[in-house]
């Protein structure tokens, strides 16, 4: 039986035990007669033929594709988890979509007019159309923006509306999102993945592509700039890579070709918002914000915010920057507005409200409160400020007391059954309820909804996955998004890898990638040595292995050697993220650095993690601990890391790329110096030394060169020459330092005499004067000259790293409240 047939049979046949169990839901795919709904008719043949095996493959492909693209979503307080996408889309045909589209456009127009009134003349309040307490009692009403000196005719540029269906299939508005709506990036990513893994179905559907909407968004943002600028600068303001929708933000920035910045990247000067670019300040004209208004300006809003820009409110009041959406837009997210929208629509637009909202009663109104108290069992009580307070567990009398004490803070809402849709779970499709997020853009003189959307699968009020939303064309000649005239986007890569924070992430990108690579090579070399020793125990093997494990400890911190289990130690070096210096730790650092500059980089970087994660999983889950699995997984992880070289190779040679180079070669220098310090400074007999040196050569990718040059005779002098002074060996200290010098010199803040440049030059000169024969000179059991030299290298390399941070990566002190440092008496009005 195919998946959809089984699903249709399941949802149309009343089950014996479940009769009357859940609410009656409208099914998105199957009609009451068991046949596919009309929107699916065009694809019926393909869709109905899908077998569980097909969907299992598609589901695997989706998981892999999302992991390769690094698509994450995190709930507040949780570590970022993988984004989930169901294989079957929500399909809406042209006839069903048309009224929704008109309704959404009207709604955005209306919400914009509401904002303009609430932050202007407030006629809605004065005339009693909207109760004053709905507005004044909501934290989204921002009084510092509500001044007669401020006038923003179009405070709403991009809004989102969440919809759900009632049991008859009619769409109802659940909520409006106007502050900083998220989800467009996820919607686009869903489409990209689904079109790739279900190409036949996608082709057959004849749906609206989404790209023209992004072009329209880009042009709408450019046109939002104040005044008449030829080349306005637009940025996307993010709360940072720890944000729950960080992926979405970076995707939008990258797709639109605007830099993704954080509050610390911006300053206000003379009422203009400026971006720090290499010590210069460059003006910013439009900010697409993903930071909530409360956190946007420590001067006039929350004083303890580090996410905002001090003076931003003043800049917007003066019309010197345009914030999208306006800082006051959060007031629209109040569910207590819903019962008044029909009357407001009549008043402001002179029209009837087209899209009905979820039936809602505001408790601040006496009749509303009475209705809610009379229907507490059937209604859902919510706070108007959207605070995540769980009211469901409260005792009835506690809840009643809360409502009566502060009625204006609560609404009661009818529970909507929501429609259901087949959702792939454990090898079959089961019905799950869903909501639909839509997006509406002010484009030119009118509001245009995205023809498409983002569907969320919900369980107990939480999103458990997503679905792509396919809106079909009534006629194939209809242009995508109904936007024929939009120019395709050109130049969509943000060209500014420039603010210090971005350079810092690039620097650590280089360092962590190199650290992971070098450690993996070392683990592979040592593991081979260990295998060799385990198979053919010899007297020298144990001693050599001991030295090599010491090198690992030096680079990756103390581990599990006490346990005497070699493989446990290898696994720890590879997998233990809490072990500072482990491969896993380096990968986490790398991931976090890359997350901060996601918009700057090709999506291919996330593919590297897809590879390393899968390799780590195999090693972690291996029930039988075969030793060869260590080498196998380490090898795969190395493949993943090496693929990053391909990404950087095709990057624009801008300062961001230069900074990756500085980080990479600085780290390589440190790694080779530490490796040599751990392996070559003490003499342990010819045979042991030879074993160790061979592994060092293997770990530094220099074995072949060495063999060719020295014909198999492995001596410390030759190895040191190859790894320290040979400027043609890309693994040597000399080569790496030359690279650091070259990249540093190309950075805009470099003058030729900055501290890091001087220390690099000194070290290069010192290396040039170094005589290998002197270094290898023997003093008792050790090589004292070499020991001193390597220790000095570590010191100098550390100074270079500090200097780079000081000259290139500092953003200056963070903003602090005026009174924060005051140690004497505070000025309390008395």
């Amino acid at each position: 039986m195919t998946v959809l047939r089984e699903y249709a049979a399941g949802v149309t046949q009343p089950t014996l035990d479940g009769a009357g169990g859940g609410p009656v839901r409208y099914d998105e795919v199957v009609g009451p007669d068991g046949a596919l709904r009309t929107s699916w008719k065009g694809m019926a043949e393909l869709a109905v033929a899908l077998t569980p095996a097909d969907l299992r493959r598609v589901d695997d492909d989706i998981v892999r594709a999302l992991a390769d693209d690094g698509v994450t979503y995190s709930r507040p307080g949780e570590r970022a988890g993988a984004w989930r996408l169901d294989p079957l889309p929500v399909v809406i045909d042209a006839a069903q979509w048309a009224p929704l589209e008109v309704g959404l456009a009207q709604r955005a127009e209306l919400l914009n007019a509401v904002l303009a009134d609430l932050y202007g003349p407030q006629r809605l309040l004065a005339d009693g159309v909207l109760p004053s307490a709905v507005v004044h009692g909501h934290p989204g009403f921002v009084r510092v923006v509500a001044r007669s000196s401020t006038h923003d005719p179009r405070p709403l540029v991009l809004s989102a509306t969440d919809l759900g269906r009632d049991d008859r299939g009619e769409w109802r508005v659940l909520a409006d999102r106007a502050q900083a709506p998220s989800g467009l990036g996820y919607a686009m990513e869903n489409r990209r993945v689904l079109s790739r893994v279900m190409p036949e179905l996608y082709r057959e559907a004849g749906l609206h592509r989404m790209e023209p909407f992004f072009s329209a968004l880009r042009s709408a943002l450019l046109q939002s700039a104040p005044g008449d600028l030829a080349d306005p600068r637009v940025v996307v303001l993010s709360p940072g890579s720890q944000s729950e929708t960080a992926y979405d933000q970076a995707f939008i920035a990258s797709a639109l070709g605007f830099p993704l910045v954080q509050g610390s990247d911006l300053v206000v000067r003379e009422g203009w918002v400026q971006m720090r670019v290499f010590g210069r300040l460059e003006r910013v004209d439009v900010i697409l914000r993903r930071v909530d208004a409360t956190w946007s300006d420590p001067l006039e809003l929350r004083g303890d915010s580090q996410l905002g820009v001090a003076g931003l409110v003043e800049a917007t009041r003066r019309g010197r920057v345009r914030v999208v959406n306006g800082l006051g837009a959060g007031v629209l997210e109040n569910p207590a507005l819903l019962p008044y929208l029909p009357a407001i629509c009549e008043r402001l637009l002179g029209e009837e409200l087209r899209l009905p909202s979820l039936p809602t009663w505001w408790c601040g109104d006496a009749d509303g409160l009475e209705h809610v108290l009379d229907h507490l069992d059937t209604l859902q009580v919510r706070r108007v400020d959207g605070a995540a307070v769980d009211l469901s567990g409260l005792r009835r009398d506690t809840l009643v007391a809360m409502l009566v004490a502060e009625p204006h803070r609560f609404v009661g809402q009818q529970r909507l059954p929501l429609s259901q849709s087949p959702t792939w779970e454990n090898g079959r499709s089961v019905p799950r309820p869903l909501t639909l997020r839509t997006f509406t853009l002010r484009y030119g003189s009118a509001y245009r909804p995205l023809v498409g959307g983002l569907a969320s699968l919900v369980e107990d009020g939480l999103s458990i996955g997503s679905k792509d939303v396919w809106v079909l064309k009534g006629d194939p000649v209809v242009p995508d998004q109904g936007l024929a005239e939009v120019l395709p986007m050109t130049n969509t890569r943000a060209s500014t890898g420039t603010v210090p924070r971005i350079l810092e992430d690039m620097f650590w990108f280089g360092r962590y990638a190199e650290r992971a690579e070098d450690l993996l090579r070392l683990v592979l070399a040592v593991h081979a040595q260990a295998d060799d020793y385990r198979n053919r125990p010899r007297s020298t093997g144990a001693a050599g292995l001991e030295v090599l494990l010491g090198a690992i400890t030096r680079l990756a911190g103390p581990g599990l050697r006490a346990a005497g289990d070699l493989d446990a130690e290898f696994r720890s070096v590879l997998l233990d993220a809490r072990r500072v210096g482990s491969v896993s730790h380096a990968l986490d650092g790398l991931r976090s650095a890359l997350a901060g500059v996601r918009d700057q980089l090709s999506l291919d970087v996330w593919r590297a993690f897809g590879t390393t994660d899968r390799a780590a999983q195999v090693l972690e889950s291996g029930s039988v601990h075969h030793s060869h699995q260590v080498a196998e997984s380490a090898g795969r992880m190395l493949t993943g890391i090496l693929s990053l070289q391909g990404v950087t190779a095709s990057m624009i040679r801008d300062p961001g790329w230069r900074m990756i180079g500085v980080g990479r070669y600085l780290e390589r220098s440190l790694q080779v110096v530490h490796l040599l310090a751990a392996t070559t400074t003490v003499r342990r007999g010819l045979d042991v030394d030879r074993e160790v040196l061979n592994s060092v050569l293997a770990a530094t990718e220099s074995a072949v060169t060495h063999r060719r040059r020295y014909r198999g005779s492995v001596r410390p002098g030759g190895v040191l020459e190859l790894l320290l002074t040979d400027r043609d060996n890309p693994r040597s200290l000399g080569f790496s330092l030359a690279q650091v010098a070259e990249h540093l010199a190309a950075l805009p803040a470099s003058t030729g005499s900055t501290r890091p440049e001087r220390v690099v030059a000194d070290l290069v000169a010192e290396l040039a004067e170094t005589d290998i024969a002197t270094l290898v000179a023997i003093g008792g059991e050790s090589r004292p000259n070499l020991e001193v030299f390597l220790a000095r290298c570590v010191t100098q390399l550390t100074r270079i790293a500090d200097g780079v941070a000081e000259v290139h990566l500092t953003t200056g002190p963070a903003p602090r409240p005026l009174a924060a440092l005051v140690t004497s008496l505070e000025a309390v009005p008395s």
Binding site: A126, G128, G303, E314, P817, S830
Partner: protein
């Protein structure tokens, strides 16, 4: 009475501040009973940017940004104010207090505007203690003037004036526990008492005359910024009517009170707040307020009532 007012705030840092942004509520409002002349805000070092604006509540507000490095920031508001005692006609004072609750009578004239000041605010929540405490003054059908004046008397009698009992961020509950505070705490407490029963009331930031007139006692709160409350008495003759009470001194606001700004609570109208960028570790702040009586206006034509 005419006064020369000077309010100076000085911050001194142990290392340079590269950038100071500030917002000041230092210029008194022009009111039917208060005339403001030649008033100015001076910032040293001279700000690279400054603007004067009027905020949501109609207060004068000054925005400035100093971008030259400095180890000392001085912000001074100074000028002349001619002030008379505000007069409230008897009729509004006689209305039963229950008729003046904007949330319960949203259709009453101007109730929509007063609603903002009847709701809890960031620094004035409505603890149960406030409801209970105020209930003894706000008895059934009592004339509003009498009821709120009684509340003021009780606050003055029950709470000690104590500068060590409080900080700028003290909560209403804290004041109830300590049974002590300063003018700001008493104002917030009064607001919580009034609003938790549905009345609309606002926080007023201002000054008191420094030297008492001959024969009158020196008032508490001079030499610093002062705070009191105003209670909404509804709309009369086309305008909102307010009763201004100073719980710290247990008296109606008179011609020794200079009104600077009002809002929901202190947070809407601090005399000065700001953001600095610095590596400094410590700073000291000095505040001085001087409200000196002047001879009567030589040009009495512009004398307010």
């Amino acid at each position: 009475m005419r006064y020369a007012v000077r309010h100076t705030t000085t911050y001194t840092y142990d290392a340079p501040v590269s950038d100071s942004l500030g917002v000041a509520h230092l210029v008194p409002r022009s009111l039917p009973w208060q005339r403001v002349s030649s008033y100015d805000v001076t910032v040293t070092p001279t700000p690279g940017d400054r603007t004067a604006d009027v905020d949501y509540y109609g207060n004068h507000v000054t925005y400035f940004q100093v971008t030259e490095p400095h180890e000392r920031l001085v912000v001074e508001g100074a000028g002349e104010v001619d002030v008379a005692a505000p007069v409230v006609p008897p009729a509004p004072l006689a209305a039963p207090w229950e008729t003046l609750r904007p949330l319960l009578v949203p259709g009453a004239p101007r109730a929509w505007a007063a609603t903002d000041l009847a709701l809890p605010s960031a620094q004035v929540d409505h603890p149960a203690g406030a409801v209970e405490y105020a209930a003894r003054s706000l008895t059934a059908r009592r004339p509003v003037g009498e009821a709120v004046t009684d509340l003021m008397h009780r606050v003055h009698a029950d709470f000690d004036y104590d500068k060590t009992a409080t900080t700028v961020t003290s909560t209403v509950e804290h004041t109830f526990e300590r049974r002590a505070g300063v003018c700001q705490d008493f104002a917030h407490l009064m607001l919580a008492c009034l609003r938790s029963h549905g009345l609309a009331a606002r926080y007023v930031s201002g000054y008191l005359a420094t030297q008492p007139p001959p024969g009158k006692p020196r008032l508490v709160g001079a030499d610093a910024s002062h705070a009191w409350v105003e209670v909404w008495l509804g709309e009369h003759d086309g305008a909102d009517t307010w009763l201004a009470l100073d719980p710290t001194n247990d008296q109606a606001v008179g011609d020794r009170h200079v009104t600077v700004a009002w809002g929901r609570d202190y947070g809407d109208v601090p005399p000065l707040k700001g953001v600095i960028y610095t590596e400094a570790k410590r700073s000291t702040m000095q505040v001085s307020v001087d409200v000196a009586p002047l001879p009567p206006d030589p040009d009495p034509t512009g004398d307010p009532s």
